[in-house]
Symmetry: C2
Subunit: 180 residues, 2 copies
DNA sequence: GTCTATACGAAGATAGAC
DNA sequence: GTCTATCTTCGTATAGAC
């Protein structure tokens, strides 16, 4: 299928961003990872790399929102567990070689527009998570949602750097204690 | 002074890492930022970029440990405030263009050795912070220290992406509530 | 200890054939 | 819609003069 190539490239860009950051996500890497045909880069992304990265951030953001949506109606502890399980899966499946692609764009992109877009994604996550926590009866849901996003992002980085799930699990337990 | 050049280059590398990540910290950038003479790169860093980055991570790690040391003897809330003040200063002075250079190396370096070294720095911070918190009478000091490092690192990223100190301050307040 | 010059590869991007 | 070829710029690194 022809239009499959674009989707595969975006998906590969998300993975490569999560592993090696912005500059590590080169066209060559994306093409070899996605098995997409070389001549179709500027067909699908006429504005070049910026457009590819923007698509990747958008899709990565939407993916996490979908994970959050699936947690609707759960009690607070279930929401915490579900959200942390998503990040744990990233760490385990990649053997600590991948993290959050949106965070990677924030700290390693040279494009102000890309950072802005990442900020929008973080805001969307925080807003949706706060809704769920509020429905579950958590006090000050926005404040706890912000803590949860920040702590989980940081915990993923710590686990990656230390090649150890321990700091991630420690943060997970502490978040449960706070919300309990 | 001749031997000043090396120190200036390392200092510039720390700043550039915090702003643009690993690949954004090129020799050209480091040289123009540090005003160091071009011919002295491989004099001071015969092993090239890897050696420069390693020196930057080591110094950045030691700098934060020094900040922690200065908080010795304070009550728990003072330790939280002092640690968060360090990161707040980075965000404010850079107008949200800089974050943590050790985190940046973790997520955007292509060198496994550099990531290992970053992990060692995070461990050292956590250990020292846990000591201080334990002395201040905090229960489960290691677990809270890990949460604090993770949450502060994540909060810095959120504030950068959103160009707003609000998520950072929200996390700061929540950490105080947890420890208080 | 610092300089210039340069080698070599990889990056993003464009042109034009098919 | 995909291909090959090519351009330019930038990155790291080295050689050899001063």
């Amino acid at each position: 299928m022809a239009s499959d190539a674009r989707e595969r490239m975006v998906r590969s860009a998300i993975i490569l961003l999560a592993q090696h950051g912005y500059q590590g996500t080169s066209f060559s890497e994306v093409l070899s990872h996605s098995q997409a045909p070389r001549g179709s880069i500027y067909h699908h992304f006429p504005d070049g790399k910026d457009q590819l990265i923007a698509a990747a951030v958008e899709v990565a953001g939407a993916n996490a929102v979908a994970v959050l949506d699936a947690l609707e109606g759960l009690p607070a502890a279930g929401i915490v567990d579900g959200f942390m399980a998503m990040w744990r899966a990233v760490l385990e499946r990649s053997e600590f070689s991948a993290g959050c692609s949106v965070l990677a764009v924030t700290v390693s992109s040279d494009s102000a527009a890309a950072v802005e877009q990442a900020g929008g994604v973080f805001r969307a996550w925080t807003t949706r998570l706060a809704e769920l926590l509020g429905d579950a009866g958590v006090a000050e849901p926005e404040s706890f949602a912000t803590l949860m996003i920040a702590a989980s992002e940081g915990a993923v980085v710590l686990a990656r750097a230390e090649h150890d799930l321990a700091p991630f699990e420690s943060v997970h337990r502490r978040l449960l204690a706070v919300v309990g």
